[in-house]
């Protein structure tokens, strides 16, 4: 077991902060390369005119999940040291719904708004300002909503634990679902292209 480097002491926390800039740089690079700094392209996901968000996100999740699984198997990382975002069922469902409303209204998410802003898009800057305002609003309301915020906790629950199957099986299922969804996505795109070319 050699990783995660900062957790096993192979790398100091200070070096981790330098890595933050490098990792962020690569993240921003690929987001821009994929076209995710463009609000119209992102919003197209919700009108099925552009499925880039879906393709990028799903292939990123599957790539990372496969990598984590095999790195764990090969002893490159200790899976027990990986941080799993904690589950709070109702707050995360409600938060997701509120987030989705903001997403289709603003056309960018918090990360992609930074890419939009850094590539000259003024709407990216406006969305970032809105985010700061929304976070401030939540924090000011926090004492009132703290009990709901902490309700229905499940700790670091994972889907394979919940289904009672090994992680490898869940990974296989995820990969099959992703491939099937990509195929369906291409059908949708072909049909829409057919419609627009008939119209135009």
């Amino acid at each position: 077991m050699i990783g995660p480097f900062v957790e096993t002491g192979l790398l100091s926390p200070a070096a981790g902060l330098v890595m933050a800039i490098l990792i962020g740089f690569a993240f921003g690079w690929f987001l821009e390369q994929g076209g995710l700094g463009n609000a119209r392209k992102l919003a197209g996901q919700f009108y099925l005119t552009d499925l880039t968000v879906f393709k990028v996100m799903f292939s990123a999740i599957v790539t990372a999940a496969l990598g984590l699984f095999w790195f764990g198997r090969l002893g490159v990382i200790d899976p027990a040291l990986l941080y799993v975002p904690v589950t709070y069922v109702l707050p995360q469902l409600a938060g997701g719904v509120v987030f989705g409303l903001g997403f289709v209204m603003g056309g960018l998410c918090p990360g992609t708004s930074c890419v939009a802003a850094s590539t000259g898009r003024i709407d990216g800057l406006a969305l970032m300002a809105g985010m700061l305002f929304g976070v401030l609003g939540f924090n000011e309301l926090y004492p009132v909503i703290a009990s709901f915020y902490s309700s229905t906790p499940m700790g670091a629950a994972t889907v394979p634990d919940l289904l009672g199957i090994p992680t490898g099986n869940a990974l296989f299922l995820l990969t099959v679902i992703a491939i099937a969804a990509f195929v369906v996505g291409h059908r949708i795109e072909r049909r829409l292209r057919g419609l627009t070319s008939k119209r135009g």
């Binding site: 690929f30 790539t63 941080y83 995360q92 802003a117 499940m154």
Partner: protein
């Protein structure tokens, strides 16, 4: 979509996705945690409030959690530095591909000013949602999705479900 002024075409989305997946994997191998974005906004807000009114920040856990080292915490926050990197990486990529452009991305039927109002409003709504859910598309959906977090997949279902549900309300803005 392919306007001559808009620079070189984008990378294949699957390739970009695999690239982001590898970056996410690298974050886990190096740090033991994934990527994020909304956390950086939380850190900036917490440090700002702590500077303006330290008693207010100290008495509210929503701020205090982001202030392990007082108002200067923002400069040592991993996610703030990561997002600074996202800025630089996005800018470098756009400049090299000829896609850097001072513009407001919007549909053909809406004014720039109205689009900016919607962007600010959408950001504010998303700020509330991301705080309530404990993360956004990067830190919760992408990162937690890859480690099969139950809450992450609940968030993905809620966010995309709501996106499609509310999309007709904003159609004029985009199409």
């Amino acid at each position: 979509m392919s306007d001559r002024r808009s620079g070189r075409p984008y990378m294949d989305p699957y390739l970009a996705g695999v690239g982001i997946g590898c970056v996410l994997l690298a974050a886990f191998v190096v740090m033991g945690h994934g990527l994020g974005a909304s956390g950086a906004f939380s850190s900036v807000v917490a440090s700002g409030v702590a500077l303006a009114d330290s008693a207010r920040a100290a008495s509210n856990d929503a701020y205090a959690g982001y202030l392990p080292g007082g108002p200067a915490s923002v400069f040592r926050d991993w996610f703030v530095l990561e997002v600074a990197g996202v800025f630089l990486g996005g800018m470098a990529s756009a400049l090299l591909a000829g896609r850097f452009r001072r513009a407001v991305d919007r549909g053909p039927r809406i004014s720039s000013r109205a689009r900016l109002v919607y962007a600010f409003g959408g950001g504010a709504v998303m700020g509330l949602g991301a705080k309530l859910a404990r993360g956004c598309t990067s830190g919760l959906a992408l990162t937690g999705g890859a480690v099969f977090s139950v809450g992450s997949w609940i968030f993905i279902a809620g966010a995309f479900g709501a996106g499609y549900l509310f999309a007709p309300l904003f159609r004029r803005q985009w199409l």
